[in-house]
Every structure is written in C-alpha cells, then in structure tokens.
Subunit: 290 residues, 4 copies
C-alpha cells in the first residue's frame, strides 16, 4: 500500500529596505526562485520622497535547496551590494514575547486571550510588573509573573535585573501593556524597535500623562489610542496603529477612560499582530505597516 | 362647500443653560404647557463637574396663546431668577448665513449643494472671498460673490468693510469654508459663537498651518478635520465636530489632502447643520451638541 | 464635636412610553418634583410616525418623601390614565445577569472583564453552558458554571431545568455570549426583552448560520456584529447595537472571524451596558436606545 | 551653456491574473527589467482557495526600449503560456467616462467636483440622463448633457441610442450616479466590469428599491452605501467599496436619506478612483481592490 507523504509547508518571511534602484523586485524574486522558494505573497512600497524601497516577501521554503544558514549567507552576499537591510524569519521559530504591566488589567487580559485564540503567533513565557496586583491574571493563563517594584533609588538596578531576565528568556518583543513606569533610554536602546507601547491618546495630541483628562478639558469629539515603538524620546516613537471613537459632552472622565480602553485593546492587539507577522519596517521615525 | 382649514405647524426652539438646581425641567415644561405650547422633543444635559444645566426644547407653537414678543417677555421674567441664559427661535425665521472662502472649492461647493438639497435650513445671501477665483461657484448657485482682497496694509479696513456688509445683510452665521486669512480678534468678537471654522487637522494635534504636512512628517495613521467656533485664540475655539479617516505609509501629502477634503466637508456640514438646528451650547470653552 | 453626616445619593431611573399627547413632560417632571425628587438627566424621544412618546428620567431620590412602594403606587395612579407603560429601578438594586456560552471564549471573557472593571453595573451569579469547555473561565472569576448538555431528545427538559435555575437565582437578564443553541420560543417568551444575543453578522444581512462564510462568499467590504433582543422569530429581534470593520480580498475566513470577534465583543458590551443603564425601550420590533 | 533636459516620466500600469504557479513574480519583474522598465510599486495577492494569482505593477516606462505596441506583443507572447489575463495602460492615455444620472444631484456633483480637483484622472465628455432636470449641473462644468427619456415602450431603442453615443465618444467607463432606471442585460453585457453603480444600501442587506425605507422599518443602527460593478443579476455585481454611518431611533426616513447621501458620495468616489487607477480585478463575482 502506498503512503501519502504529507509535507508540512515551511513558511518564511523576508523583509527588506534599501535605497531605491532599478531591478530590485526582479533580483529578489529571482534569488528566491533560483533556490526552489515559492513566493506566497508580497507587499512592496517605494517612498519617493525618501528614495527608499521596502518589501515583505512571504514564501514557501519547503523545497529550499539550501540549509537555512546557507540561505542566510547567500542573502547576505546578494543583498549587501544593494545596501539592503534585511531580516529573515521562519514561522516555525516563534517569537518570544514578554508583557510588562502594572495595575490595569484590560490590556494584558486582551493580549493573553488573543494569544489563546491563536491571533498572536508567538510564545509568551513571561509577564513582568512593578506591582503584584495582576498575578492572578498571568496565573490563570499559566504564565510566570515576576515583580520588579520600582522606586527612584532602585530603578536602574531593577531595569538591569529585568533586562537580564528578558535575555535569559530569549525575549524578542516587549509589550508595554499599560506599564506605568517610564523605561530609561538604556533599557529602550537594548531593544530597538522591539518594544511596543500603548499610549491612551491619539498622538501627537495629548502627549504625556493623563491624556483622557487633557481630552476632556479640551472638549474634543474623538478620543483614541496609539500603539508605537518605544524610543528614548517619550511618546515620539514610530506610530504603528491608531484608533478613535466618538465622544461628546455626555462623557465624563470615567466614560472617556472606559471608551478608551476598547480602543487601547484593539490598537495594541493590531500592532502586536503586525509586528509578529513581520509586517512593520521602521524608517526615519515612521513605520511602513504592510 | 366646507373648506378644510390646514393649519401649518409653527415650530420653535428654546435653548437654555444655567447653574443646576432642582425643578428646572418642571418649571420649563410647565411654562410652555401653560401657554398652549406642545413640546415635540427635548434634549437635556447636566454637567455635574461644572454644576451646569443645559436643555433644548423643540415645540409646536401653533396654539401659543401669546404673541411671540409677549412670549419672549414672559420667558425673560420666568427665567431671569434662575440665572438662565436662553435663546428662542422659530423655524419660519430662517438664519442668514455668509460663506467666506478663498481658493479651495470643495467646502463651499459642499455647503451650497447641501443647502440646495434642503440639509441646511437657512438663507445664504452672500459669499465673501479674498480672491476672485471662486466667483463661478457662487454664481452657479445664484449667490452674490463679493471680493475683499487682503494685504497687510488694508486688512483692518477690509475687515471693517466686510463687517458692514454682513450687518447690512443681517447675517447670523459666518462660515469659514477654508478661508485662508486669519480674522482679527476685533472681527471675531463681533460674532461670538457665530463664526464656524473648519480646520484641516484633528485639533489639538496639528494646530496652525499645514496640518497635513505635519501629520505626514509625524507618520500618523489617522487624519481628519475639526469644525469649531472661531475665537481670538487661534485654533483653540470650542470644538463642534471632528472626523477622521485611516491613512498609511502609502499616502503622500497629496493623498492626505485628498482624504482630508472628504473629512472637512462632512465635518463642516455636520457642524453647520447642528448650529442651524440650535443644537449647540457653548460653555467654558467647550460645546454641548445635542 | 460636630459630625458631618454624609448622605449617599440614591439614584433611580424611570423609563416610560405612551401614545404622544400634550403635557407629558410637564406631568412627569412635576410628579417627581412634588415628592422631593431631583432629575439628574433625562432623554426623550417622540416618534411622530408611530405617535409614541418615550422618556428616560434619571433622578436623585435621596429626599424622596415616600417609601419606594408608595412611590410606585403613586406613579401607577398618575401614569395609568396616560396609557403609560413604565418601569422604575434604583441603582442600589442591581440587576442579576446570567451568561450563556458554548465553546467560544472571547465574548464571555469580555463580559467578565468589563464587569470586573466596573463597566457593567450588575451581579453575575451564574454562567450556563451546553459544554464543559469554558468552566475555567467562569472559575477564574469565581462564578458558578452549570452545564446543561443539549441533545434533540432532552432539549425541552434541559431548557426547563435552566429556566428553573434562572428563576431560583432571580435572573433579570440573560446574555447569549455566542451560545450555539437556538432557544425555544417557550424559553424566549419567559424572558421578554430580557435576553440579549450577539449575532456575528450585520443583520439583516447574513441571517442564520455561518455569517462570516456568507460574507466571504459575497465579497463584502465590511463585516460586523449585531446585538439584539432574542425573539421567537430567529435573528429578527429588535436591534440594540451594530458595529462594522473594513475587510478586503486579503481576508480569508479565519481573518473575518478574527476581525469579527472584536466587533462582537464591543457590540455586545455596549448593548448589555445600555440595557443595565435602563437606556433601551422596545416598541414595535425596534428599539429606542437613549 | 548646458541645458538640463527634463524628461517627463511615462507611467504605465500592468494588471494581471492567472492560476497560481511558481516563479510568476520573477517572470513578470524580469520581463519588465529586460526592457528598461522600472517598477515604481506593485501590489500582489494570492487567493489560496481559488488558486489564483493577482498582481498590479505600476512602472516608469520612460526608458522602455520598445514601442508600446511591440511591448504589448511581447507581453502577449510571454504571458500566454501562463494562462494570464492582463491589461496594460499608460497614464497619458486617459480613460473616458460617461456619467448617467436622473434627478438626484449629489452624486453627479460630487464626481464633477472630484474631477475638477484632480482626484479622478480621466476625461468626462458626456452626461446622460433620462430626465432634463440636471442639465444645469453638467452645464456649469461645461459638459454636454444628453437626455434619453425612458418609457416601457422605447427603453430598448433608447438604450441602443445611448450605447451608440457611448461608442461614438469612446467611453471606457460608465458611472451610474443614482441613475433611476434598470439597465437591460444587453446594455450591461456591452460594458463588462465597465459600469459602476452606487446602491444606497449595504448590500446584500436591503437589495432592491427603497433601501432606506427597509432599513428604517427594520430598525438598524448602521446605514450605508455600496459601489459595485453592474451585472445582469441586479444588486449582485462584484462589490468594490462600502461605507456605513451610525443611525438611531432619532433618524426618520429623511435623516437616513441625508446621512446616506454622504456615504454614497464617498463610496462612489472611492470606487471610481480605484477603477481609474487600475486597482480592481474582478474574479468569480468578487473584486480584488489593491
């Protein structure tokens, strides 16, 4: 009796950016085709002002005729002369994510539920907080919860301990799920374009603390949230996603906070998913989100 | 032969605001009921923080047993002790509106089409511009178009001439439909809460000039427009309506401007309609929009 | 030493509907004012086509000079001649809610988190399911989880058992949080306008099963969800809230389901909150949602 | 003195679809690169269910080393073996558009204003109507307005006359801007995927006549519009764009119609623009809109 050999598809993603020039799409497509790689889909953008080329290629590597490290080496050789920045990933090597939280539970809950539902293709081996309050949330999803209380005095030290723990857990992405501490530039530079923060305002409006109070004070008719990469320039990091919802004179601060929570959850979930699907390229303080 | 006497309904609107206190709703409703006036619908809001009461009452005055001026006098007597600010209007006394424009035609066209379609219940006897460019638009709707060219030297003088023309035309509302001149405080104070401006940004983000360029520079993912009453503090007037639309890395400045035009038209149209329907109360730099 | 006596505010809500006639607002406001009741805010609507009057009055009953039952009796006497349907509630008498669920966890999680965050002012003493799968969710919020497995044969019997359990728990509102069984007319008639269902389609499009598959098949550019009161006429109950999100050719069925989940959660949360705040009046197969 | 020779860019667009297979992207990119054509941007989609490949390539043809007809011939030879359907266009060969209208002026006005503002890159040499009412609109934009009154008796004859006029004017796209006649299958088949209709409902809900009345009757909380290609199966053509706006118990039929007009204008404008930019591919009753 013959047996059907079911070969599982191996999906990879190549994300590139470089100064624009002729023939880039052909070069990339041909390089992949030459080694048995079939492109499943691709997104491409040329920023004419910046003179930059950006592309994401998702491909089936089942019939790749090289080892992954040989393939990486080949890409390095081919893409170097094009001044190309690139990153390569495979779906079977899942990103490892740590969630930072404080006392607001809506964002962490939302991320953990999305993860369980299969919306976020990653591992979440670690939750870090400066307060013990939300241990029950992490625990109900069987995720270790580590508390680093922060004071003015111990902040540098605690950040170093947290970084060590992140390194030890091979963390690729840090999500600040309403973490109510400002990370130091030192911490942020350890994880360039690897820390996603949710700001509860539609940046650049309402930067800083208490954006809902600011919005209420000003009498705006829309409130919302912004997911962005953390940079050492507070609230100025590259924006990934934004959402708003209508508000009116009827809404007091509590109503704005409540409405805002829904926007925070949706915006953060969308940004994290885009990051994990390798859809984001940061360039010049802005993002391309394919 | 019997003749059916068709009595046309006479609709009036009473808009009030005052420090909150017990019995206001009953007092107002009873005052109207006592004189044959039937409330068609009412909107009410209490701002607990500010301790303020706001109400709009739309009523059928067909069987009002007083003349309008007697009715006004009565309201004055009853509402004075309550420290009430109020305004009274009747649907058969249409507001008179002047549109100010410069060279962008989308907003003025939009207003004139909405007017023709019956969305804006007013008269538009006058278009004023600092440029001759859009005369054809006003003309195709049979509206006089008056040009007041503005230079640094003649600005004060031209504004006085414009005000005189507005007064002469009994204008109740001025709409700045992408009028590219900053009105002087003197002009604005002539028409308190009677000048609606459309700003092509989601205030308080992107105040000042070139909001689309600012938005593009910052890499935001939403752009929009804000309709507000003009105050002498530029771009800080009470917000009436705001709308946004998604944008992305694909959109260059021209795309943002194009997308923004749709938001400007919708936002301005909505704000003007709310004003004409007597749905707006300004209090403390913010609006109640019923 | 003098002691400050802090009197907690007692908030009540009166919701009324009746054939429209003159003087209703004055009568209601005066009735409340006569007995020391201060109206905090009110929403009112007149449906001119149907000739119906609707009003919601939220009031401070701290200085009510009657007992609650005397007050109810008084309202009955005053409102009967006006053919008024009315309901009266007090914020300190919380509604008791049961959640029905099956295997999808996003909606039940969302409701329980909103409840914990204080968005839903009610008690949730009971979760009922036809499957054991989600016991861990209810358990992590310390809520009893009761399984009634349904087969063709036992459906009537199990429904009766569920109704008995609901009655025993004094349940005021049943939420079908993606409960994958069709309730019998008998069950539904036990709880008129007291069962809220979330349908994963923008009714009346995509009635019945598999709305996302239908939407995908048709190639629509928007998908969404509808929260409605359950009636014996499936998917035809009065609509409370609807939300949509953009979709495109990129989205496969799984993507539509994922995007739809966000709309389901937001729509259901909004509808339940409106119900609990006594903002909804059902009339003629439609809702007034103040 | 040296003279700078400013070469104007010649932009072309190639749109292809075919059964999916390996190497398509490389083949297309290489074919263009071989003849001096530089890809400006590209969008690509693979429909895994249908096994179909779709791509749009926008390119700079300034240094194309073939004549356009040679280039077309070459593409034919290369793409035939791939079972590829393709279309090629150049920005300097503008599409020619005819607008069909009846008595509602908002959609035709909107299209003509967008055209004047440069949003719609086409020529509009012709407006056709079954009524004389809107001649003034076409006239104010200097466009010929031709009336074909339709009766039961003359419909076939008038359609033939209209088709003849369209052919005579080399019309590439027909826009039904609230044209209140149903085109016969004969007419529609003359212009496959070349007739865009705006339906004032969120299809597939509210097919047929009076969608706003249907929506009002049902008590929905969202209304909207759908732009689609006309097919002989009424209201079932491939959907291009949809937009909705919130509505409530407050809105009577007139309000729904008014709110709907804004959605119709935006949806139709967006669909026409996508068509003119060669962003749409129809496949299997659905659209890919890049």
């Amino acid at each position: 009796m013959t047996q059907t050999k079911q070969v599982a598809q191996i999906v990879g993603t190549l994300v590139v950016s470089c100064p624009d020039q002729k023939g880039l799409i052909a070069t990339l497509a041909q390089t992949l085709a030459d080694h048995g790689v079939n492109i499943i889909d691709t997104q491409q953008h040329t920023d004419l002002e910046a003179g930059m080329f950006f592309q994401r290629l998702r491909f089936d590597a089942t019939e790749l005729d090289l080892t992954r490290s040989q393939f990486e080496k080949l890409l390095g050789e081919r893409l170097l002369p094009l001044e190309m920045k690139w990153r390569l990933s495979f779906a079977d090597e899942k990103a490892r994510v740590a969630i930072f939280t404080s006392k607001f539970e809506h964002c962490i809950y939302d991320l953990l539920i999305r993860h369980r539902l299969g919306e976020l293709d990653c591992e979440i081996p670690l939750v870090i907080s400066n307060h013990p309050d939300l241990e029950h949330v992490a625990k109900s999803f069987n995720i270790p919860y580590k508390v680093f209380p922060i004071t003015k005095e111990n902040k540098a030290e605690q950040e170093l301990a947290a970084i060590a723990l992140l390194r030890q857990n091979n963390i690729d992405l840090v999500i600040l799920a309403r973490y109510m501490q400002i990370l130091s530039p030192m911490f942020i530079e350890e994880f360039p374009s690897q820390i996603i923060n949710i700001h509860h305002g539609t940046l650049p409006a309402f930067m800083g603390a208490k954006p809902y109070h600011q919005a209420h004070e000003r009498g705006v008719k829309l409130i919302g949230a912004t997911a962005h990469y953390a940079t050492s320039d507070l609230d100025m990091g590259p924006i990934i996603a934004q959402e708003v919802i209508a508000c009116s004179h009827i809404d007091n601060i509590e109503d704005l906070i409540r409405k805002g929570r829904d926007m925070e959850r949706i915006t953060l979930g969308r940004a994290v998913r885009a990051h994990l699907e390798e859809r984001i390229i940061v360039h010049g303080g802005k993002t391309v989100v394919f």
